[in-house]
Symmetry: C3
Subunit: 259 residues, 3 copies
């Protein structure tokens, strides 16, 4: 028997919105410690890693480890049916081929949706612990905005990080663009701060398309963390308050992209 | 001479928005008692019945009975030209082949639009008085939401009504969905109540497509009434405050739809 | 060296939005007195004339006259990157083949975008001073609304101006529409007033398509001025507060359009 309850179903909806552009289908691995999902995007370039801790749920029970493969478009339809203030309960039998989502509203309305489970091939990738050259913490909305803006000018974005700040750059046929953020000195509003933890300066190039997909997670958190190191995938991490985190991994482009 | 004046032209605009998805053209029958419209939708499955009482208008004069056939797309264009706070006056001569809509705003702006009338074949259907097995009164927005949500899962919605409440269900390839509304016990907010007047329990199946079209009338009223009885068309009724009502009729599907 | 600074970059963005439907590319002529742009729309029917006075800028320096040809779609992309509260600085060297736009936000964010300049054929049209038969000053939003509404009924709009007011008319297959605005007597709210300066009554016909394009300038100003005279192009003028003006010129249709 698996049962997980979240008073705020909107969080799960935001998680789905954050990953369904990259993943058509995915397996949720449920165990005593929580729900996890790890999958390469459909073009096998970037990696999505979701971790929801069992003690972040309002109720959580998992008698036996369980892998639930789902079509994320179908799952998206189910969560489109949830109201903003609904509670969600996810339920599955140990040997089930379906999973049930029950939404309860404050009014006398109860909805339940049953989805068929899928058997998906899964390859679990070990993600090595990395010592990063720099870790940038910045407002998630600002990161989304910069990626969107610079995507107009080229297919790649160069991210350069020094002690003073971060620079995002793009160039293409119509011209070039550079956006510079200085490290914040005044920490009145932590959410708006740009904080850089630097071992050594780094300059790396990434494909706009994937960065843009990652920023679909912006509604999950006010802050995003970018961890960079030469020859190692960039990690873009969104904390999910009290529940866990969503991470995206993307390898840097090796040659500089002139487009 | 026909002349009808509504200080709040937005009501008429909402009526139009409610019916123009189902009807391409329609005849308004004007008499001393008011304006009426009755027509099968363009695929001849559902029936639309509109009744606007003469004493609900701010001014109403109808010297001779008059039938005004109009293209509802053209009429929609005319009402797109009305401001939110405009007064509308509808005018036609007894033997006219045009009708005029005059909009007056609080500022010194007067607009008039003249539409050509059409001769439309009309079959007036007698709608027999029916004793219904159950009559459900519920928030119109909730009804629209449920129909929209369940339409994602199948082409039909099963509505089951008992003393305890109403259940809406749909099933299809990706799974099944059920939404249950309990009858309201606490009547503090009448607009939000679900009230069931039950003679005997009923379970009937209806095509989502038409139910969805009916819910275009949601802005007309906070409440909707669903009247159901075995082997008799469902009646979906929206009261138009102080002016009349808009009713939709839809026959139940005879065999259960597995799709 | 050319350098022009506007604390409110949103004004320049609105100017761009106002002209980029009519013009694909255009040359900005920069001199000590300010920035000017004059160009026929891409179908060579209407004329756009923009004048931004040097003393309306927060900083302005132009050592040598300079003509900067730009693709307005590219320029639109640059200004899409500006935040609502950003300051913009436009910079070019005297003999440059690029121009730089620098945006500064109140937070520690600085962006710069470099665009390639283009060599555009230019024909400077002398616009003769005209004594107009009537000059109508009216709310710009009302003008945009009327043009949009009447465009539904025909391809042309007839504008008739007398001492009492202005009438806009259109007719087509589905019917006719007339919108009458009376001259305002009560001048409490100047922005909402309709003021007519009349030498003699005029009735002229214009193509909806161009009038609709002109109204893209509505966000620039609460008021618009229409100047009309027999056999002379209509002038539609939007004042840009403290900075200058944007004018559109459109010749009247000679025969009455029956469509």
């Amino acid at each position: 028997m698996f049962e997980a309850r979240l008073v705020n179903s909107a969080i799960f909806k935001k998680v789905l919105d954050a990953i369904k552009e990259l993943l058509n289908e995915a397996s949720f691995d449920c165990s005593e410690s929580g729900m996890q999902l790890q999958a390469m995007d459909s073009s096998h370039v970037s990696l999505v890693s979701l971790n929801l801790k069992s003690d972040g749920f309002d109720k959580y029970r998992c008698d036996r480890n369980l892998t639930m493969g789902m079509n994320l478009t179908s799952l998206g339809k189910v969560f489109r049916c949830s109201g903003a203030d609904d509670t969600v309960t996810i339920k599955a039998q140990d040997d089930a081929d379906t999973v049930t989502f029950m939404f309860e509203s404050k009014k006398d309305k109860i909805s339940d949706y049953e989805l068929k489970l899928m058997n998906l091939d899964q390859e679990h990738l070990g993600i090595p612990e990395t010592e990063f050259s720099c870790i940038i913490k910045m407002p998630s909305g600002e990161f989304a905005r910069i990626v969107r803006d610079l995507s107009q000018f080229g297919e790649s974005i160069v991210i350069s990080c020094t002690k003073e700040g971060v620079k995002f750059s793009a160039q293409g046929d119509i011209g070039t663009g550079n956006v510079k953020l200085a490290q914040t000195n005044n920490f009145d509003k932590e959410e708006e701060s740009v904080i850089i933890d630097l071992q050594e300066p780094v300059t790396l190039t990434f494909a706009c398309q994937y960065l843009n997909s990652f920023t679909k997670a912006t509604p999950l958190s006010n802050q995003v963390t970018l961890s960079m190191c030469e020859n190692v995938p960039l990690v873009v991490e969104y904390q999910i308050p009290e529940l866990g985190h969503l991470r995206f991994y993307l390898a840097p482009k090796i040659e500089e992209d002139e487009n």
